[in-house]
Amino acid sequence: MVEAGRSPNIEILTSARLEALEGKPGRFTASVHQEPRFIDDDKCTACGTCTMYCPMPIVDLFNERLNITRVPHIDYAQAVPTSYYIDPRACLRINYETCNLCAQTCTAQAIDFSQKPRELSLDIGAVILAPGFGRTDLSVLAKYGYGRFLNVVTSMEFERLTCASGPTEGRLVRLSDRKPLKKIAFLQCVGSRDETCGNGYCSSVCCMYAIKEASVAKEHDPDLEIALFFMDVRTQGKGFDAARERAEEKYGLRVIRARIPRVDQVDGRLALTWTTDDGKSCSELFDMVVLSEGLNAPKDAEAIAEIAGIELNHYGFCRTLVDSPLAASRKGVYVAGAFQGPKDIPESVTQASGVAAMASELLSEVRNTQTVSLSYPEEDKAIESEGPRIGVFVCHCGSNIAGVVDVDAVRDYAGTLPDVVFSRDTLYSCSQDALKGIATKIKGNRLNRVVIAACSPRTHEPLFQETLRSIGLNAALIEMVNIRDQCSWVHSQEPEAATEKAKDLVRMAVAKARLLEPLEKTTVDVSPTALVIGGGAAGMTAALCIAEQGFECVLVERSDQLGGNLRRLVWTMDGQEASKVLDDLIKRVDGHPMVRVMLEAQVKDVSGYVGNFTSSIVKGGQPVAVDHGVIVIATGGRENRPKSYKYGRNKRVLTQLELEESLAKGKGFLKNIKNIVMIQCVGSRGEDMSHCSRLCCAQAIKNALKLKGIKPNIRIYCLYRDMRTYGFSEDLFKEARKKGVIFIRYEPDRRPEVIERDGRIKVRVFDRLLEDEIDIFACLVVLSVGIAPGDNDALARVLKTPLTPEGFFLEAHVKLRPVELASEGIYLCGLAHGPKPLDESIAQAKAAAAKAAIPLAKGQAEVASTVSRVDKAACIGCGVCESLCPFNAIRLFRVNKRRKAETITASCKGCGICASHCPTLAISMGGFTDEAIMAQIHAFAGEKCV
């Protein structure tokens, strides 16, 4: 969020909404209406005085109405833009021309009631709709006693209760009497899979977030008792099942398969009644009931659709197709996140990068035409090489620091420290005018090291580094001292101790500043070509998308034809012909001038780093060297071949894909087939493979409906553990039930058995409702076998990237960087990342193409300056650093027959593990050298150290 706030090429328009959108793709005009904030962002320093003085309390919407705040407020401390705003609805000054207290008390004079609403007209090339989702409306919640009983809360309210900066500071208490909680119940599918409120779909995320909220609650209070009421446990994301099972076992969460119809209150506690599978009826009392509310279409969906000229689906979400999941119905308008359909954060982030790629495709020829890149004056090497001339600036931050710390005393004390030639206090060092003042003082006194004693470097260091760069001083020659967030704010009752601490911290910073060295921000040239490994649906989509963005792409496919698993698919989930999608992709790939396809080719070795990879690809026995800047892994996955269930030993036992292929050959195949038994999770979730493959339930239902379409009176049984038809595929599940498909649930410890007797096969399964074993005679048994990882070991070793325990590639961060690998410049999409349906693979391929195009678009990769540097003479080539580095950013090279370590600056993240483990202390970290830290330790002791 912070980066979005700072980039010169991003303009955040808050309290604004879209009024109209005209024009055609590449040439739109959008008119936007913006309400005033009544506080000037640049001036406001978020000190909070206005909130203290405002007499008008209002309900805090950010905290789900659980506490009160004042008219001038900020949603939460780390909000971006980091400035307060006035809520006009309740403001006395705006509505009744009285009060004006906040404007008087604001020391930064940032409050301005003369601000008016603005109408903006923006010339844009593409529109991306990401308005998120709407909340479940009260009528649905009221069915469960929400609004009548205080202790019935929604999951969002529960989030605020567990949040450390929330209304109860993380203490879990009953809202009715603030007593600590003992027993909590989570009700699933509130406002989802519920015909009565029109939301027949499944919201895909509630099962997983309920488990998370339960675990967080147990962390707060281990002896809490928690029960969760599920219909199907739908935790089908990557690593989700594993996380859920760990949580259930570690926290003793009780999972009950029942849907609670209503909630009653019995002497202050909440009563739930339900019947279990075996007919027993139970009822229990709970302190709190959390309603896992689903994700609705945004409230203003119709308005957005009408203005943007796009179509919605029958649930009010944006309508998209399986083979182009990110494009809304109007060309040039794209959709990402929950507005396209209920989804979790990892998928929203993936789709967000995906639509960035589509916009970048549409506007590739006008790239960099409207962005501004800052230019800096030449660095003044002379000053930097002189002896240390340190300037110390001690900030008042209005009263935030000066109210507790004696700033003058600290300023004078700093003046006495060796090498400090200038010391001054400032009222607000982060305000525009103070920064200019600091710049002139630095030039005026020929300072070459700067110490800023103010707030946290985490938030403000870049701001001061920019100031240094703007006057020709290297950005590394600054050290910040946190005397606000970690001193005055937290020791407000002990002013002398706080002042003493501030002096010590300044002394330590000056000691470090004395040893600061200018650090080069090295940039690395990027060769503008991408290498895509794997020619399946994901690989082709990624290659096409990179080429459309204007960059050359080499597509390597092991087999002799493109298509991968897409070749075996017959129908997509929304009924399109899969072969049409396949042919279209292949035609566009073969026809694209920027894509070079290499069939029957395999990547044997890859060397280099982001921007400068060189791969040797073996094609027809001959190694071919290819230079490229980035790599996209799209090696796909493989249909699992189960060993059990008589598969391979009886020709009437097929997999879902095989069924689809034979159905496509013609109806004759079904001539004397009357009974079909489908078995879900074959080989998955605990058998050959531990993971759930996410798409087999939907695929089974699709095939069942195809069968019923061809031969309506055919009998189909589906034996399942959890029907995981998440999102809109829930409709298909309902339709299958309507068409008479019989669903029988089995427990993992009593899996169905395929029995062969004199040529006929039957399936024995324990039916929980009848509490007895039943045998179903089957003319055909169809197994949903799930997706196993391709043989990724060879490629993983070549690229030195880790694999997950299940054998898929491990992404850098499951939520924030889902399509990137830890090592820079390598991206990932499709089944190689994990099992997923076609539309998610395509969206992920676009996302990978977007991320891969960034270094290509920039032409240069800028490298952080706090990287490691190896002193070759001291290095004895022991290799400890190479083995410990999490980013393969330090490698051993042969330097005239001796082994020496060397940093790969582009990949180094500056964590410093190598430096702290080097036996000969040969590695120094930019900005955090051993000497600097030792100097700080000695300064910490002050006089005490000998």
């Binding site: 022991c878 400890v880 410990l884 593990i913 036996p919």
Partner: protein
């Protein structure tokens, strides 16, 4: 155990914390003076509780040195000075590096494995190097003395000190004359 921004940084810190605890015990400093805690960016209340609890714990232990024993302050300071030298010695750091490498390869960072690894592979090397450093400091400061006085001053038992004196004399850092040992200015 919040997730470390650099993925494995916090695991390596656990190994260093373990060696530090064993070293502090060895030089007579109360190991509870050094703690390694985890608090993610959103766990401010947990952080405050950790700091408050830790400060009162240190208050209970008392000032460094005098809390460990009335006359011990000077000796502990010498142990620590030698300890820093030992922690910079290549032999010790290689042992630590190798242990970190093996544990990372095994991927099993549970505390028992770490503490066994440190006890067996790293701490002995550290203790030997510390004693060696102390002998040289001690001889340089107080002049020649018998191995018995050395072991009493450094806290190492006679056999241990004997062995180290052997290695030091082989490196010509010390010389034996009669029953006294002399430091050679290196």
């Amino acid at each position: 155990m919040g997730e470390c921004h650099y993925q494995s940084g916090n695991y390596e810190a656990m190994i260093i914390a373990e060696i530090c605890r064993q070293v502090l015990k060895d030089v007579g400093v109360n190991p509870e003076r050094m703690v390694l805690e985890w608090a993610s960016a959103a766990e401010a209340p947990r952080f405050v509780e950790l700091i408050t609890r830790y400060v009162s714990a240190v208050k209970a232990i008392g000032p460094l040195g005098s809390a460990e024993g009335e006359d011990k302050e000077a000796i502990i300071r010498m142990h620590l000075k030698a300890g820093v030298k030992a922690a910079s010695a290549r032999k010790v750091r290689t042992a630590l590096g190798k242990l970190a490498k093996d544990i990372k390869k095994s991927g099993d960072y549970n505390p028992q494995i770490i503490s066994d690894g440190v006890t067996k592979k790293v701490f002995p090397a550290f203790r030997e190097e510390r004693l060696a450093q102390e002998i040289q400091i001690c001889l340089a400061e107080t002049g020649p003395c018998k191995s018995a006085d050395i072991s009493e001053k450094t806290g190492g038992d006679i056999k241990e000190i004997g062995k180290i004196l052997e290695t030091l004399s082989r490196k010509e850092l010390v010389k034996k004359q009669g029953s006294n040992w002399y430091g050679i200015g290196n």
